[in-house]
Amino acid sequence: MTHPEALDALHSCAGGVDDLTEERFHRLKGAEIFYLGKVGGWGHWAGFESLEYARQYIAALDELWGRNLDSGAEISCGYFAALFTSLMALMVFRGEFKAAAHIAQGLAGAIAAKSNGDTIEFLRAPGEFHRQDVFALNILLRTSKWYSANDELYGKVTELAVLTAHGQNQS
């Protein structure tokens, strides 16, 4: 259990929910907006450790996809692609472009391998972030759409493509 220690000492205007009325807004302390720019960014949103567990997520899902889920009609390929897409977008969103690119490369490779009936090597060893990683990311999105063309669940993640594009622009 964690809590924001000693925060109450910073400002005297802190109060309970019922203490805040419209009238009190007239004598607010006044926000120092520039402090918002100092707040830790993407990495702080979910912690850098997300990179590590994301790798394990993907590795585990990879095995499931290749072995268990293929034989289970209850999980649609589109749904799985949607999950991959959202996870990868999450990585991009967190600024973990390298991990996102690896995921993208892996999924693109996996899809290509599966289409040839081959077994797949999903996760690659960490390397440098290259331009081709961005291309792989595009492949991921296109392929996910292809897999999910008739799957209503894909509608839930199409909005995430915007995020991914934003991540690419930042990179």
């Binding site: 805040l20 120092e32 830790g40 850098f48 450790e49 997300s50 095995e63 949607a82 999950l83 969103f93």
Partner: protein
């Protein structure tokens, strides 16, 4: 012969264990049937290929009691990721607009900004179905019971969320910032404005910031919290906790 450990219990054993519990349990549930195919829950490395590590083809993994469980597990994972993305975007849009307004000439500049309210609460404890079966194997519980998730509150069920919802509704035109624990489940942090198939929704002015409680490579979490306080016009504290986590001035 190299082997890769594939223990569900250790999959998420990181120093700060920031995986939301429901996500962890769902992954454990998804992985466990596969894990059981291998002797001693050890998956041989892909490069080894030794015959003794090839799973017995006649051995069938034990699947969950209901096939719908698999779908549910994926949906939980998906739902949590979806909320994290959506709310993250909301926070960074809010942040961007505020900063843009504060910096020189822009379409936003000169327009009066709506005061920002910061809602501070005690981080609640989120439990999943496994908590009730401490002496049982997680794999067995997940297989037979599926996955459940609940938030445990010291000051009454859902009180912090209800208070936040009350605040958000009362000041619906004001952004209400609040700090979330990364291990918390955002998928059960919404105020139930209306029930939908997709679960609880967040009020439009609800703006969470997910704060890592451990020392970040970028910034001490307390520093981040302090900056959020300084950037807010009003601070409201949910002091309903009888344990006195927060003090009021």
């Amino acid at each position: 012969m190299s082997e890769v450990g594939f223990s569900c219990k250790e999959l998420f054993a990181f120093s700060d264990n920031q995986v939301p519990l429901i996500v962890r349990d769902c992954f454990v549930a998804l992985i466990s049937p596969f894990e059981e195919l291998f002797r001693g829950s050890q998956v041989p490395s892909r490069s080894s290929g030794h015959w003794s590590h090839i799973p017995d083809p006649t051995r069938e993994p034990i699947y969950p009691a209901f096939s719908e469980f698999k779908r549910d597990w994926l949906e939980w994972i998906y739902l949590e990721l979806k909320f994290r993305l959506e709310l993250g975007v909301r926070y960074y849009n809010f942040r961007g607009e505020r900063l843009e307004h504060g910096q020189g000439p822009s379409p936003m500049h000169g327009k009066e900004q709506t005061p920002v309210i910061l809602f501070l609460r005690k981080f609640r404890r989120v439990e999943t179905g496994l908590h009730a079966f401490q002496n049982e194997s997680p794999n067995v519980v997940l297989r037979e019971m599926g996955v459940l998730q609940s938030a445990v509150f010291s000051g009454g069920e859902g009180e912090d969320t209800m208070l936040r919802g009350q605040l958000e509704r009362r000041f619906s035109s004001h952004p209400v910032l609040w700090i979330a624990n990364p291990r918390d489940a955002l998928s059960v942090s919404g105020y139930l404005t209306r029930e939908e198939l997709s679960g609880p929704e967040f009020n439009r002015n609800s703006v969470p910031y997910l704060l890592s409680p451990i020392w970040s490579k970028i910034q001490n979490w307390r520093k981040s919290a302090e900056y959020l306080i300084r950037a807010s016009d009003a601070i409201v504290i949910d002091n309903s906790s009888k344990e006195g986590e927060y003090k009021r001035n």
